[in-house]
């Protein structure tokens, strides 16, 4: 039993089971929607977590890739007559290319300088999305045609819950494999000390670029899912506040923790829904929650809480 629980994929299997069983408790489509949003953002946060948690590089502009993926899903069918699934794929590819091209120079920067460079990148993408109204519909956004797979129009919060759940579990499985692979070990070494890692023969620049591209692809797919789910997209999907939200999800949940991405996304999506009863005081409470979690559980929720349980401390 112990061996079963500490198996590499045990945690993932438990998540999958929970996701399978959870809908039994949903009284209405609204809960499906919230859960689907949590999973979609968890996927995006997972991508950012690989960059921030695993490789230790801060990105304050990651929502740019949400925007690229989302608008690809919108522009492909609308302006280029491409099927939705192909547009999602192309969006992810485009995000990867952008990350590759921009990543090379940007990742040479360190610490706060890297943060401001990624901030600039995020703002640039948001500005282009807002201004090129001919393609993107401008600040009011554009309608996203529904995903059609083999004659079946994919719509409805419940359908998207399952799609998002499968996407997240698959993404988490891939991430787990990445973390345990030589690349993952190299990235953890880079996180601890870049100088030491390069002394050991790790190609620091290449590894950082690789993880940047992977994280961009994850976030892009999440953005496409969001656009297809909502049926509408606006430029603030790529905005500064969205990027900060993603960073908050990663940091709150626990950097480097896959489960943490899910917990962080759950908090930031569900909390505003719970706080509506507070009306004007909603933002004050949100700010307090963010500060308190960081002060008392400074590794993030999942790592801090599991450190409290001795048996499961080593993972």
């Amino acid at each position: 039993m112990h061996a079963l629980l500490t198996h590499r994929l045990a945690g993932l299997a438990i998540i999958a089971v929970i996701l399978l069983v959870l809908p039994l408790s949903f009284p209405s489509g609204y809960y499906y929607r919230v859960a689907a949003l949590v999973l979609i953002f968890a996927l995006a946060a997972l991508g950012l977590n690989l960059l921030m948690g695993l490789a230790g590089q801060v990105s304050l502009g990651h929502a740019a890739f949400l925007g690229v993926g989302g608008y690809a899903a919108a522009i492909g069918p609308t302006h280029l007559a491409l099927p939705s699934w192909l547009s999602v794929f192309l969006g992810a590819a485009l995000s990867g290319v952008v990350a590759f091209v921009v990543g090379r120079p940007i990742l040479r920067l360190k610490g706060h300088y890297l943060a401001v460079a990624t901030l600039g990148l995020g703002l640039l993408v948001a500005i282009v999305l807002t201004n090129e109204a001919g393609w993107t519909g401008g600040p009011d956004g554009m309608t996203v045609p529904r995903l059609t797979l083999f004659e079946w129009r994919v719509r409805g919060s419940d359908t998207w819950y399952w799609i998002a759940a499968v996407a997240f579990v698959f993404g988490a499985w891939l991430a787990l494999n990445l973390i345990e692979s030589p690349t993952g070990r190299a990235l953890r070494a880079i996180h601890d000390s870049e100088t030491a890692a390069s002394v050991l023969g790790v190609d620091v620049a290449r590894q950082k670029l690789a993880v940047f591209v992977v994280s961009a692809v994850y976030t892009s797919v999440a953005g496409s899912c969001l656009a297809l789910f909502n049926g509408h997209i606006t430029p603030d999907i790529a905005g500064f506040l969205r990027s900060i939200e993603l960073v908050a999800m990663v940091v709150l949940g626990g950097m480097g923790s896959i489960a943490g991405s899910l917990v962080g996304a759950a908090i930031l999506v569900v909390l505003p829904q719970l706080l509506t009863a507070l009306h004007d005081y909603e933002h004050m409470v949100l700010g307090l929650v963010l500060m308190s979690v960081m002060i008392f559980l400074r590794q993030g929720i999942v790592p801090s809480l599991s450190a409290l349980v001795p048996r499961f401390r080593s993972s």
Binding site: M52, V58, P105, I106, R108, L109, K110, G111, H112, Y113, A115, V116, A117, L119, G120, L121, L123, L124, I127, V128, N131, S193, E194, T195, A196, F240, L241, I244, V247, A248, V251, L252, M255, D280, Y281, E282, H283, M284, V285, L286, G287, L288, V289, L290, M291, M294, I295, R298
Partner: protein
Amino acid sequence: MAEFLQFFFSGLTVGAVYALVALGFTLIYNASDIINFAQGEFVMLGGMTTVFLAATGMPVPLAALVAVIATIAVGLALHRFAIEPARGASAVALIMITIGASIFLRGAAQVVFDKRFHSLPPLLGAEPIRVAGAAILPQSLVVLAGAAVIVVLLWWLLDRTLLGKAVIATSANRLAARLVGINTRSIVGFSFAVSAAIGAVAGILVTPITLTSYDVGTLLALKGFAAAMLGGIGSAVGAVAGGLILGMLEAFSAGYVSSKYKDAVAFLVILAVLFAMPNGLFGRGHIERV
């Protein structure tokens, strides 16, 4: 020629605003390596508090003074209740705390104040000064002068006083500073208080130009941060230079290139500068210990 001058004046105006905000990031960073994302809220508090106090009948200069004191109190509270308890946390956790604080302060401002826009009367009157076919508001010069005064005061503090030396020592090596008897906790608290004061003064000086509202802090913090990084974080002169350059870039792009993409051009230039000079214009090189 007249239009070039007008663009220059516009750049000076906006740049001076960014410079003042950027200066606020400098001291806290110098004392503790923390980037305080709530700095924008200090600027907002300075302006909004003054507006609301003045609306109750208090004379504006007194309202401004009370506003600065109130903001200093907020800065100290931020340090005491949010930053101090998280001592030893990673840099990212500390950034998250300041972001949480900025959300909290914004939320509080919307309850305590309101959600509308407000202005303050300009210090030297509203009549623009006309030079060679271009016009600049006297308040822009006031903001510039304010930035210059603060730079000089910061230089004097850090370079010429024992307190300033203690600040630098704290950021260089906290443990060593404590070993030589410096109360590092008070030093960091002091830096928060001074940065809050700088922010509040900035808010009061720029409100006649930029107007103020409960959420003016977000964008100002963003641009101030970018300006501070451009100039090299930790350098007061760099902060001012960064702010002015950012303002000029925006104004000249709006005038000569395209008003739609002026922010994009400005950020592209910042990125280009950072690629060429990874420590900003005036920043000190970062020496990593292995």
